[in-house]
Subunit: 221 residues, 2 copies
């Protein structure tokens, strides 16, 4: 899907080379939404539902951010840029209640073209009893890899996603999603992704993805 | 992921060859959940959020059910069979509010080994502005194809899912997800799936999936 979400534009406003994007939302847009608090909230910061595993990893990555090699990406539920759009629409990955769905934070390393997502999987992501739904896993892979490309290449569309499910991921567990751009050919971005346990000993999922920048001579639809 | 969810067990209780599964949940299990009404609700029936496109298709498929060639699968948010499990857990595809997320119904044709899902995509499934998130699409592909195999083969795990995204799916639109078992080799089920517009003129997505029945000599984990 097109990676043109304004939430990402906002999220990336602090990244190198994105200084032309405003760091805070314009005032008039806020009036579109029912809850200013909700609109302004950065969902990638710790909340009471986060367990010690994700808090520990979060602290470790925040430490890595101190020398500028890594950047944390803020994350919002609503768009605040495209003020003409549907106010009911919400980013799918932020549409579940706190602690019930995707609790996550993204960290980007520009030099290594890597994006890491720390994910705590809530109980509303269930597929098989006690395990995360394969579609929820696919969602986080698409989001993490797509964000990785977006930071480098701007708007892209997911053209292909090929996932090998190695082991089921238990509900409530924290996992680390690693994504890296392997190759760029013209408008095509080839990305690999894997999901591992916090101790790195368990490989849950592997995936490859192809993203394509829209042809500027054609409609994005 | 393992397709062993009790919601599916319940859903499939009326299907041929599944008569040994009770058609209604056992009494004691209901006490585990906060809302009996919620626990008992069949989410695959029309509700006020359904638009005319999905209602029309629903009626057409219900007509096809009259001669027994097609069966509608009921669908629940919670498990009611595995009473020892986590009462907070919810089926991912039923975890969003009415009309906001996945509004869908599954129909199965046993002779043709086909499963059709009618999906109305709510505004909380957003990826790119105005379009359904690639992960939400993957979720419905995994669910539809997995259910198709489950009806035939029982518990299976998604081993691979390979998706080609052809065109973005607009939020609020109704699409038809077609899934079919192409081949069975031992414990392996090869399934194809596509997503098309209601008028069948637009191909949005194509996918192939491999499901594997757990080796009875090994743990399902």
């Amino acid at each position: 899907m097109l990676r043109s979400c304004a939430a990402r534009l906002r999220a990336l406003s602090a990244l190198p080379g994105r200084a032309h994007w405003p760091a805070s939302p314009p005032g008039p847009a806020l009036r579109l939404f029912s809850s200013e608090k909700d609109t302004l909230r950065d969902y990638s910061l710790p909340n009471p539902s986060w367990n010690k595993d994700i808090r520990l990893l979060f602290d470790q990555f925040m430490k890595k951010c101190e020398d500028g090699s890594w950047k944390r990406l803020p994350s919002y539920r609503h768009s605040v840029f495209e003020i003409e759009r549907d106010p009911k629409a919400q980013m799918f990955t932020r549409s579940l209640e706190e602690g019930m769905g995707f609790e996550y934070v993204l960290f980007h390393n520009d030099t290594e073209k890597r994006m890491v997502c720390l994910l705590q999987a809530g109980p509303h992501l269930q597929g098989n009893h006690g395990y995360v739904h394969g579609g929820a896993i696919a969602t986080m892979i698409d989001m993490t890899a797509g964000s990785c490309v977006f930071v480098t290449g701007g708007f892209v569309m997911t053209a292909n996603m090929n996932i090998d499910y190695r082991r089921p991921i238990p509900l409530y567990s924290v996992v680390v999603i690693n994504s890296r751009i392997d190759k760029i050919e013209g408008r095509k971005y080839f990305v690999s992704c894997d999901i591992r346990s916090v101790d790195n000993k368990t490989l849950y999922t592997e995936a490859t993805l192809l993203f394509v920048k829209p042809d500027p001579n054609k409609s994005s639809k």
